[in-house]
Symmetry: C2
Subunit: 257 residues, 2 copies
Protein backbone atom coordinates (compact mmCIF):
# COMPACT_ATOMS: atom_id res chain seq x y z
CA UNK A 1 0.00 0.00 0.00
CA UNK A 2 1.49 3.34 -0.99
CA UNK A 3 0.96 6.36 1.16
CA UNK A 4 0.98 9.79 -0.47
CA UNK A 5 2.10 12.44 2.04
CA UNK A 6 -0.01 14.98 0.15
CA UNK A 7 -3.23 13.07 0.82
CA UNK A 8 -2.22 12.14 4.38
CA UNK A 9 -2.59 15.75 5.47
CA UNK A 10 -5.87 16.26 7.31
CA UNK A 11 -7.80 19.37 6.35
CA UNK A 12 -10.10 20.83 8.97
CA UNK A 13 -12.96 23.30 9.04
CA UNK A 14 -15.01 25.24 11.55
CA UNK A 15 -18.62 26.25 10.92
CA UNK A 16 -20.18 29.35 12.45
CA UNK A 17 -23.99 29.48 12.35
CA UNK A 18 -25.14 33.04 12.95
CA UNK A 19 -28.64 33.90 14.05
CA UNK A 20 -31.02 34.30 16.94
CA UNK A 21 -33.55 31.96 15.34
CA UNK A 22 -31.55 28.79 16.08
CA UNK A 23 -30.76 29.84 19.66
CA UNK A 24 -34.40 30.65 20.43
CA UNK A 25 -35.44 27.16 19.38
CA UNK A 26 -37.73 28.69 16.77
CA UNK A 27 -35.92 27.21 13.79
CA UNK A 28 -34.39 23.74 13.64
CA UNK A 29 -30.96 24.08 12.11
CA UNK A 30 -30.47 22.30 8.81
CA UNK A 31 -27.13 23.80 7.82
CA UNK A 32 -24.89 21.89 10.24
CA UNK A 33 -25.71 18.49 8.71
CA UNK A 34 -25.71 19.93 5.19
CA UNK A 35 -22.29 21.57 5.51
CA UNK A 36 -20.91 18.54 7.39
CA UNK A 37 -21.93 16.11 4.64
CA UNK A 38 -20.62 18.38 1.91
CA UNK A 39 -17.26 18.80 3.65
CA UNK A 40 -16.85 15.01 3.96
CA UNK A 41 -17.01 14.75 0.17
CA UNK A 42 -14.43 17.54 -0.21
CA UNK A 43 -11.98 15.66 2.03
CA UNK A 44 -12.30 18.30 4.75
CA UNK A 45 -13.15 17.37 8.32
CA UNK A 46 -15.70 19.51 10.15
CA UNK A 47 -14.03 19.84 13.54
CA UNK A 48 -16.16 22.38 15.39
CA UNK A 49 -19.45 24.22 15.04
CA UNK A 50 -20.46 27.34 16.92
CA UNK A 51 -23.88 28.97 16.94
CA UNK A 52 -23.97 32.60 18.07
CA UNK A 53 -26.61 35.33 18.14
CA UNK A 54 -26.69 38.42 15.90
CA UNK A 55 -24.32 40.23 18.30
CA UNK A 56 -21.22 41.88 16.84
CA UNK A 57 -18.83 41.03 19.67
CA UNK A 58 -19.80 37.33 19.71
CA UNK A 59 -19.45 36.94 15.95
CA UNK A 60 -16.06 38.66 15.89
CA UNK A 61 -14.78 36.44 18.70
CA UNK A 62 -15.97 33.24 17.06
CA UNK A 63 -14.69 34.22 13.60
CA UNK A 64 -11.21 34.86 14.98
CA UNK A 65 -11.13 31.67 17.06
CA UNK A 66 -12.28 29.43 14.22
CA UNK A 67 -10.35 30.96 11.32
CA UNK A 68 -7.12 30.66 13.29
CA UNK A 69 -7.71 27.12 14.56
CA UNK A 70 -8.89 25.40 11.37
CA UNK A 71 -7.89 25.38 7.70
CA UNK A 72 -11.26 26.73 6.64
CA UNK A 73 -14.08 28.68 8.20
CA UNK A 74 -17.63 28.62 6.84
CA UNK A 75 -20.37 30.88 8.14
CA UNK A 76 -24.10 30.71 7.47
CA UNK A 77 -26.58 33.50 8.08
CA UNK A 78 -26.58 37.25 8.58
CA UNK A 79 -25.72 38.35 5.01
CA UNK A 80 -29.20 39.54 4.03
CA UNK A 81 -30.64 43.05 3.64
CA UNK A 82 -32.10 43.69 7.10
CA UNK A 83 -30.76 45.53 10.16
CA UNK A 84 -29.93 42.25 11.96
CA UNK A 85 -27.63 41.11 9.13
CA UNK A 86 -24.21 42.06 10.49
CA UNK A 87 -21.97 39.17 9.45
CA UNK A 88 -20.03 41.19 6.83
CA UNK A 89 -19.31 43.96 9.34
CA UNK A 90 -18.25 41.45 11.99
CA UNK A 91 -15.88 39.58 9.66
CA UNK A 92 -14.36 42.88 8.47
CA UNK A 93 -13.84 43.88 12.10
CA UNK A 94 -12.30 40.50 12.92
CA UNK A 95 -9.86 40.90 10.02
CA UNK A 96 -9.20 44.59 10.64
CA UNK A 97 -10.22 45.61 7.11
CA UNK A 98 -12.88 48.09 5.91
CA UNK A 99 -16.22 47.13 4.39
CA UNK A 100 -16.51 48.12 0.74
CA UNK A 101 -19.18 47.76 -1.96
CA UNK A 102 -17.99 45.03 -4.34
CA UNK A 103 -18.52 46.29 -7.91
CA UNK A 104 -19.38 42.87 -9.33
CA UNK A 105 -21.82 42.18 -6.47
CA UNK A 106 -23.45 45.53 -7.13
CA UNK A 107 -23.78 44.69 -10.83
CA UNK A 108 -25.32 41.30 -9.98
CA UNK A 109 -27.88 42.96 -7.69
CA UNK A 110 -28.68 45.65 -10.28
CA UNK A 111 -29.49 42.94 -12.84
CA UNK A 112 -31.39 40.81 -10.33
CA UNK A 113 -33.60 43.61 -9.00
CA UNK A 114 -34.06 45.45 -12.33
CA UNK A 115 -37.50 43.95 -12.90
CA UNK A 116 -38.53 43.51 -9.25
CA UNK A 117 -40.81 45.90 -7.29
CA UNK A 118 -38.79 48.68 -5.69
CA UNK A 119 -35.63 47.96 -7.70
CA UNK A 120 -32.20 48.10 -6.06
CA UNK A 121 -33.08 49.86 -2.78
CA UNK A 122 -30.52 50.93 -0.21
CA UNK A 123 -31.42 47.92 1.93
CA UNK A 124 -30.82 45.53 -0.98
CA UNK A 125 -27.56 47.27 -1.82
CA UNK A 126 -26.34 46.21 1.64
CA UNK A 127 -25.95 42.76 0.10
CA UNK A 128 -23.12 44.06 -2.15
CA UNK A 129 -21.03 45.01 0.91
CA UNK A 130 -17.97 42.81 1.53
CA UNK A 131 -14.82 42.92 3.66
CA UNK A 132 -12.14 44.53 1.45
CA UNK A 133 -10.18 41.92 -0.51
CA UNK A 134 -13.08 39.48 -0.95
CA UNK A 135 -14.15 37.36 -3.90
CA UNK A 136 -17.74 36.33 -4.55
CA UNK A 137 -19.45 32.95 -4.25
CA UNK A 138 -22.11 32.62 -6.98
CA UNK A 139 -25.75 32.36 -5.92
CA UNK A 140 -27.99 30.89 -8.62
CA UNK A 141 -31.00 30.99 -6.29
CA UNK A 142 -31.57 34.55 -5.19
CA UNK A 143 -29.05 37.01 -6.64
CA UNK A 144 -27.08 38.19 -3.62
CA UNK A 145 -23.74 36.34 -3.69
CA UNK A 146 -21.80 34.67 -0.91
CA UNK A 147 -18.37 35.98 -0.01
CA UNK A 148 -14.95 34.35 0.14
CA UNK A 149 -12.03 36.08 1.82
CA UNK A 150 -8.88 34.09 2.53
CA UNK A 151 -9.96 30.91 4.32
CA UNK A 152 -13.37 32.37 5.27
CA UNK A 153 -16.55 31.59 3.32
CA UNK A 154 -19.67 33.61 4.12
CA UNK A 155 -22.87 31.90 3.00
CA UNK A 156 -26.58 32.54 3.27
CA UNK A 157 -28.60 31.08 6.16
CA UNK A 158 -31.64 29.90 4.20
CA UNK A 159 -30.76 26.21 3.63
CA UNK A 160 -31.58 25.92 -0.08
CA UNK A 161 -29.53 29.05 -0.82
CA UNK A 162 -26.67 27.71 1.32
CA UNK A 163 -26.91 24.49 -0.73
CA UNK A 164 -26.50 26.43 -3.98
CA UNK A 165 -23.42 28.22 -2.63
CA UNK A 166 -21.87 24.93 -1.47
CA UNK A 167 -22.53 23.58 -4.92
CA UNK A 168 -20.68 26.56 -6.45
CA UNK A 169 -17.70 25.86 -4.13
CA UNK A 170 -17.58 22.13 -4.92
CA UNK A 171 -14.12 21.04 -6.01
CA UNK A 172 -12.57 24.50 -5.47
CA UNK A 173 -11.06 23.85 -2.03
CA UNK A 174 -7.96 21.84 -1.30
CA UNK A 175 -8.81 18.78 0.76
CA UNK A 176 -7.22 15.54 1.87
CA UNK A 177 -8.28 11.94 1.53
CA UNK A 178 -11.96 11.78 2.43
CA UNK A 179 -12.73 10.01 5.68
CA UNK A 180 -14.44 6.74 4.76
CA UNK A 181 -16.98 5.15 7.06
CA UNK A 182 -18.77 1.84 7.45
CA UNK A 183 -21.60 1.20 9.85
CA UNK A 184 -22.57 -1.97 11.69
CA UNK A 185 -25.87 -2.01 13.56
CA UNK A 186 -26.75 -4.17 16.58
CA UNK A 187 -30.03 -4.59 18.43
CA UNK A 188 -28.13 -4.65 21.69
CA UNK A 189 -27.23 -2.15 24.41
CA UNK A 190 -23.86 -0.55 23.62
CA UNK A 191 -22.85 -1.20 27.21
CA UNK A 192 -22.85 -4.97 26.51
CA UNK A 193 -20.26 -4.69 23.77
CA UNK A 194 -18.21 -1.75 25.06
CA UNK A 195 -15.17 -3.96 25.75
CA UNK A 196 -15.25 -5.40 22.23
CA UNK A 197 -15.37 -1.91 20.70
CA UNK A 198 -12.49 -0.67 22.82
CA UNK A 199 -10.27 -3.65 22.00
CA UNK A 200 -10.95 -3.60 18.26
CA UNK A 201 -10.27 0.13 18.05
CA UNK A 202 -7.03 -0.29 20.01
CA UNK A 203 -5.87 -2.99 17.56
CA UNK A 204 -6.50 -0.77 14.50
CA UNK A 205 -4.65 2.46 15.08
CA UNK A 206 -5.71 4.26 11.90
CA UNK A 207 -9.41 3.65 12.55
CA UNK A 208 -11.86 5.23 14.97
CA UNK A 209 -15.00 3.46 16.13
CA UNK A 210 -17.94 5.60 17.20
CA UNK A 211 -20.85 4.07 19.11
CA UNK A 212 -24.26 5.67 18.58
CA UNK A 213 -26.97 4.22 20.79
CA UNK A 214 -30.67 4.54 19.96
CA UNK A 215 -34.06 3.54 21.23
CA UNK A 216 -36.58 2.48 18.58
CA UNK A 217 -39.71 0.38 18.44
CA UNK A 218 -39.37 -0.12 22.19
CA UNK A 219 -35.90 -1.70 21.89
CA UNK A 220 -32.38 -0.46 22.50
CA UNK A 221 -29.70 -0.76 19.88
CA UNK A 222 -26.60 0.97 18.61
CA UNK A 223 -24.80 1.70 15.38
CA UNK A 224 -21.05 1.33 15.38
CA UNK A 225 -19.38 3.56 12.81
CA UNK A 226 -15.82 2.70 11.82
CA UNK A 227 -13.93 5.56 10.16
CA UNK A 228 -10.57 5.73 8.43
CA UNK A 229 -8.96 7.54 5.52
CA UNK A 230 -7.47 4.19 4.44
CA UNK A 231 -9.88 1.85 2.70
CA UNK A 232 -7.90 -1.35 3.39
CA UNK A 233 -7.48 -0.59 7.09
CA UNK A 234 -11.14 0.30 7.32
CA UNK A 235 -12.14 -3.04 5.78
CA UNK A 236 -9.81 -4.95 8.14
CA UNK A 237 -11.23 -3.18 11.18
CA UNK A 238 -14.85 -3.77 10.12
CA UNK A 239 -14.03 -7.44 9.49
CA UNK A 240 -12.42 -7.80 12.93
CA UNK A 241 -15.38 -6.12 14.61
CA UNK A 242 -17.91 -8.38 12.87
CA UNK A 243 -15.86 -11.47 13.83
CA UNK A 244 -15.68 -10.36 17.45
CA UNK A 245 -19.43 -9.65 17.62
CA UNK A 246 -20.20 -13.06 16.06
CA UNK A 247 -17.82 -14.87 18.42
CA UNK A 248 -19.58 -13.23 21.40
CA UNK A 249 -22.97 -14.35 20.07
CA UNK A 250 -24.35 -11.02 18.84
CA UNK A 251 -26.35 -10.58 15.66
CA UNK A 252 -25.43 -7.54 13.65
CA UNK A 253 -26.59 -5.73 10.53
CA UNK A 254 -23.93 -4.59 8.05
CA UNK A 255 -24.75 -1.08 6.86
CA UNK A 256 -26.37 -0.20 10.16
CA UNK A 257 -29.91 -0.15 11.50
Amino acid sequence: MTSDPQTDRIYTAGLLVIGDEILSGRTHDKNIAQVASWLQVQGIRLSEVRVVADVMERIVEAVNALRETYDYLFTTGGIGPTHDDITVDAVAEALGVPVIVHPEARAILERYYADKPGGLTEARLRMARVPEGSDLIPNRMSGAPGIKRGNIHLMAGVPHITAGMLDALTGTLEGGAPLKAETIGCWTAESEVADILREIEKAHENCQIGSYPFFREGRVGANFVVRSTDEAELAACVHALCDALSAAGYDFTPGGI
Copy 2:
Protein backbone atom coordinates in the same frame (compact mmCIF):
# COMPACT_ATOMS: atom_id res chain seq x y z
CA MET B 1 -45.67 49.46 34.86
CA THR B 2 -43.54 48.19 37.74
CA SER B 3 -40.13 46.79 37.05
CA ASP B 4 -38.72 44.20 39.43
CA PRO B 5 -34.92 44.36 39.38
CA GLN B 6 -34.83 40.65 40.24
CA THR B 7 -36.68 39.68 37.07
CA ASP B 8 -34.83 42.26 34.95
CA ARG B 9 -31.62 40.30 35.28
CA ILE B 10 -30.94 38.30 32.14
CA TYR B 11 -29.79 34.73 32.71
CA THR B 12 -27.69 33.17 29.98
CA ALA B 13 -26.61 29.67 29.02
CA GLY B 14 -24.14 27.95 26.71
CA LEU B 15 -24.78 24.52 25.22
CA LEU B 16 -21.97 22.13 24.30
CA VAL B 17 -22.95 19.26 22.00
CA ILE B 18 -20.30 16.55 22.17
CA GLY B 19 -19.90 13.91 19.51
CA ASP B 20 -18.41 12.99 16.16
CA GLU B 21 -21.81 11.94 14.80
CA ILE B 22 -23.10 15.51 14.41
CA LEU B 23 -19.86 16.78 12.87
CA SER B 24 -19.76 13.95 10.34
CA GLY B 25 -23.24 14.84 9.11
CA ARG B 26 -24.37 11.33 9.99
CA THR B 27 -26.86 12.43 12.63
CA HIS B 28 -29.08 15.50 12.45
CA ASP B 29 -28.88 17.25 15.79
CA LYS B 30 -32.14 17.42 17.71
CA ASN B 31 -30.79 18.63 21.06
CA ILE B 32 -30.05 22.24 20.12
CA ALA B 33 -33.70 23.07 19.42
CA GLN B 34 -34.89 20.96 22.34
CA VAL B 35 -32.58 22.60 24.89
CA ALA B 36 -33.23 26.06 23.38
CA SER B 37 -37.01 25.74 23.72
CA TRP B 38 -36.74 24.36 27.26
CA LEU B 39 -34.45 27.20 28.35
CA GLN B 40 -36.89 29.81 27.01
CA VAL B 41 -39.52 28.48 29.40
CA GLN B 42 -37.04 28.57 32.31
CA GLY B 43 -36.35 32.28 31.64
CA ILE B 44 -32.79 31.50 30.55
CA ARG B 45 -31.42 32.71 27.24
CA LEU B 46 -29.40 30.28 25.14
CA SER B 47 -26.56 32.53 24.00
CA GLU B 48 -24.11 30.18 22.32
CA VAL B 49 -23.85 26.60 21.13
CA ARG B 50 -20.68 24.73 20.33
CA VAL B 51 -20.38 21.30 18.76
CA VAL B 52 -17.06 19.53 19.25
CA ALA B 53 -15.74 16.04 18.51
CA ASP B 54 -14.92 13.37 21.10
CA VAL B 55 -11.46 14.89 21.63
CA MET B 56 -10.36 15.65 25.19
CA GLU B 57 -8.57 18.91 24.46
CA ARG B 58 -11.47 20.38 22.47
CA ILE B 59 -14.05 19.50 25.12
CA VAL B 60 -11.92 20.94 27.94
CA GLU B 61 -11.40 24.18 26.02
CA ALA B 62 -15.10 24.60 25.22
CA VAL B 63 -16.22 23.70 28.76
CA ASN B 64 -13.97 26.34 30.24
CA ALA B 65 -14.95 29.03 27.73
CA LEU B 66 -18.69 28.47 28.11
CA ARG B 67 -18.90 27.92 31.89
CA GLU B 68 -17.00 31.16 32.48
CA THR B 69 -18.93 33.26 29.95
CA TYR B 70 -22.52 32.25 30.76
CA ASP B 71 -24.59 31.65 33.89
CA TYR B 72 -25.18 28.02 32.98
CA LEU B 73 -23.52 25.40 30.83
CA PHE B 74 -25.37 22.37 29.48
CA THR B 75 -23.65 19.53 27.68
CA THR B 76 -25.18 16.68 25.70
CA GLY B 77 -23.43 13.46 24.73
CA GLY B 78 -20.40 11.47 25.76
CA ILE B 79 -21.60 10.15 29.13
CA GLY B 80 -22.30 6.56 28.05
CA PRO B 81 -20.37 3.32 28.66
CA THR B 82 -18.10 3.16 25.62
CA HIS B 83 -14.48 4.19 25.03
CA ASP B 84 -15.50 7.32 23.12
CA ASP B 85 -17.51 8.65 26.11
CA ILE B 86 -15.04 11.05 27.69
CA THR B 87 -17.22 13.99 28.77
CA VAL B 88 -16.88 13.27 32.51
CA ASP B 89 -13.08 13.09 32.27
CA ALA B 90 -12.96 16.29 30.21
CA VAL B 91 -15.15 18.26 32.64
CA ALA B 92 -13.10 17.01 35.60
CA GLU B 93 -9.94 18.12 33.82
CA ALA B 94 -11.47 21.51 33.00
CA LEU B 95 -12.37 21.99 36.68
CA GLY B 96 -9.12 20.53 38.01
CA VAL B 97 -10.87 17.93 40.15
CA PRO B 98 -10.54 14.12 40.20
CA VAL B 99 -13.09 11.70 38.76
CA ILE B 100 -14.76 9.56 41.43
CA VAL B 101 -17.43 6.85 41.45
CA HIS B 102 -20.61 8.45 42.83
CA PRO B 103 -22.09 6.02 45.40
CA GLU B 104 -25.71 6.88 44.58
CA ALA B 105 -25.07 6.55 40.83
CA ARG B 106 -23.46 3.18 41.47
CA ALA B 107 -26.51 2.06 43.49
CA ILE B 108 -28.85 3.25 40.70
CA LEU B 109 -26.89 1.26 38.11
CA GLU B 110 -26.77 -1.83 40.37
CA ARG B 111 -30.56 -1.79 40.61
CA TYR B 112 -31.04 -1.00 36.92
CA TYR B 113 -28.76 -3.77 35.63
CA ALA B 114 -29.65 -6.37 38.30
CA ASP B 115 -32.02 -8.22 35.96
CA LYS B 116 -30.31 -7.36 32.66
CA PRO B 117 -27.95 -9.72 30.73
CA GLY B 118 -24.39 -9.25 31.92
CA GLY B 119 -25.34 -7.28 35.04
CA LEU B 120 -23.26 -4.29 36.12
CA THR B 121 -20.16 -4.76 33.97
CA GLU B 122 -17.07 -2.60 34.24
CA ALA B 123 -18.14 -0.70 31.10
CA ARG B 124 -21.55 0.06 32.60
CA LEU B 125 -19.95 1.12 35.86
CA ARG B 126 -18.21 3.87 33.89
CA MET B 127 -21.59 5.62 33.94
CA ALA B 128 -21.30 6.09 37.74
CA ARG B 129 -18.12 8.16 37.31
CA VAL B 130 -18.51 11.90 38.04
CA PRO B 131 -16.24 14.90 38.61
CA GLU B 132 -15.76 15.10 42.40
CA GLY B 133 -18.37 17.33 44.05
CA SER B 134 -21.20 16.49 41.64
CA ASP B 135 -24.89 15.87 42.19
CA LEU B 136 -27.00 13.62 39.99
CA ILE B 137 -29.74 14.47 37.48
CA PRO B 138 -32.42 11.73 37.54
CA ASN B 139 -32.90 9.62 34.41
CA ARG B 140 -36.25 7.86 34.29
CA MET B 141 -35.52 6.47 30.83
CA SER B 142 -32.38 4.38 31.00
CA GLY B 143 -30.84 4.25 34.48
CA ALA B 144 -27.56 6.11 34.11
CA PRO B 145 -28.05 9.58 35.61
CA GLY B 146 -27.00 12.98 34.32
CA ILE B 147 -24.56 15.03 36.36
CA LYS B 148 -24.74 18.53 37.84
CA ARG B 149 -21.65 20.24 39.17
CA GLY B 150 -21.80 23.95 39.95
CA ASN B 151 -23.26 25.67 36.90
CA ILE B 152 -22.50 22.69 34.60
CA HIS B 153 -25.15 20.13 33.64
CA LEU B 154 -24.01 16.97 31.85
CA MET B 155 -26.82 15.24 29.97
CA ALA B 156 -27.18 12.28 27.66
CA GLY B 157 -26.95 12.71 23.90
CA VAL B 158 -29.86 10.47 22.87
CA PRO B 159 -32.66 13.04 22.49
CA HIS B 160 -35.44 11.26 24.40
CA ILE B 161 -33.09 10.67 27.35
CA THR B 162 -31.96 14.31 27.19
CA ALA B 163 -35.64 15.26 27.29
CA GLY B 164 -36.18 13.25 30.47
CA MET B 165 -33.21 14.94 32.15
CA LEU B 166 -34.45 18.40 31.14
CA ASP B 167 -37.80 17.45 32.59
CA ALA B 168 -36.11 16.52 35.88
CA LEU B 169 -34.37 19.92 35.93
CA THR B 170 -37.54 21.91 35.18
CA GLY B 171 -38.09 24.66 37.73
CA THR B 172 -34.83 23.96 39.61
CA LEU B 173 -32.71 26.68 37.98
CA GLU B 174 -32.88 30.38 38.70
CA GLY B 175 -34.03 32.30 35.65
CA GLY B 176 -35.27 35.75 34.74
CA ALA B 177 -38.37 36.96 32.98
CA PRO B 178 -38.91 34.70 29.99
CA LEU B 179 -38.34 36.35 26.65
CA LYS B 180 -41.74 36.68 25.00
CA ALA B 181 -42.11 36.58 21.24
CA GLU B 182 -44.73 37.35 18.62
CA THR B 183 -44.43 36.53 14.96
CA ILE B 184 -45.82 38.34 11.93
CA GLY B 185 -45.54 36.66 8.55
CA CYS B 186 -45.41 38.36 5.16
CA TRP B 187 -45.44 36.89 1.65
CA THR B 188 -42.93 39.50 0.62
CA ALA B 189 -39.14 39.68 0.23
CA GLU B 190 -37.59 40.92 3.48
CA SER B 191 -35.50 43.35 1.43
CA GLU B 192 -38.70 45.26 0.52
CA VAL B 193 -39.54 46.01 4.15
CA ALA B 194 -36.03 46.25 5.63
CA ASP B 195 -36.40 49.99 6.28
CA ILE B 196 -39.70 49.52 8.11
CA LEU B 197 -38.17 46.83 10.34
CA ARG B 198 -35.16 48.97 11.18
CA GLU B 199 -37.26 52.03 12.06
CA ILE B 200 -39.76 50.15 14.19
CA GLU B 201 -37.01 48.40 16.13
CA LYS B 202 -35.21 51.70 16.68
CA ALA B 203 -38.41 53.24 18.11
CA HIS B 204 -38.90 50.37 20.62
CA GLU B 205 -35.72 50.04 22.57
CA ASN B 206 -36.71 47.07 24.73
CA CYS B 207 -37.70 44.98 21.72
CA GLN B 208 -35.68 43.15 19.10
CA ILE B 209 -37.05 42.31 15.67
CA GLY B 210 -35.59 39.33 13.85
CA SER B 211 -36.28 38.78 10.15
CA TYR B 212 -36.35 35.17 8.94
CA PRO B 213 -36.73 34.84 5.18
CA PHE B 214 -38.00 31.67 3.54
CA PHE B 215 -38.84 30.24 0.15
CA ARG B 216 -41.94 28.06 -0.02
CA GLU B 217 -44.41 26.96 -2.67
CA GLY B 218 -42.31 28.86 -5.21
CA ARG B 219 -42.71 32.19 -3.38
CA VAL B 220 -40.49 34.25 -1.11
CA GLY B 221 -41.65 35.43 2.28
CA ALA B 222 -40.38 36.24 5.73
CA ASN B 223 -41.40 35.93 9.33
CA PHE B 224 -40.69 38.89 11.58
CA VAL B 225 -40.24 37.86 15.20
CA VAL B 226 -40.57 40.59 17.81
CA ARG B 227 -39.03 39.71 21.19
CA SER B 228 -39.13 41.42 24.56
CA THR B 229 -39.22 40.48 28.23
CA ASP B 230 -41.96 43.12 28.70
CA GLU B 231 -45.42 42.12 27.50
CA ALA B 232 -46.77 45.68 27.11
CA GLU B 233 -43.76 46.88 25.15
CA LEU B 234 -43.93 43.77 22.99
CA ALA B 235 -47.59 44.44 22.19
CA ALA B 236 -46.88 48.09 21.35
CA CYS B 237 -44.02 47.14 19.02
CA VAL B 238 -46.10 44.46 17.25
CA HIS B 239 -48.93 46.96 16.85
CA ALA B 240 -46.59 49.59 15.38
CA LEU B 241 -45.08 47.06 12.98
CA CYS B 242 -48.50 45.91 11.74
CA ASP B 243 -49.59 49.54 11.24
CA ALA B 244 -46.44 50.35 9.29
CA LEU B 245 -46.80 47.26 7.07
CA SER B 246 -50.47 48.13 6.39
CA ALA B 247 -49.65 51.76 5.62
CA ALA B 248 -47.05 50.62 3.09
CA GLY B 249 -49.60 48.31 1.43
CA TYR B 250 -48.33 44.92 2.62
CA ASP B 251 -50.55 42.05 3.68
CA PHE B 252 -49.38 40.22 6.76
CA THR B 253 -50.36 37.19 8.81
CA PRO B 254 -50.39 37.56 12.61
CA GLY B 255 -48.81 34.47 14.19
CA GLY B 256 -46.51 33.97 11.22
CA ILE B 257 -46.56 31.86 8.09
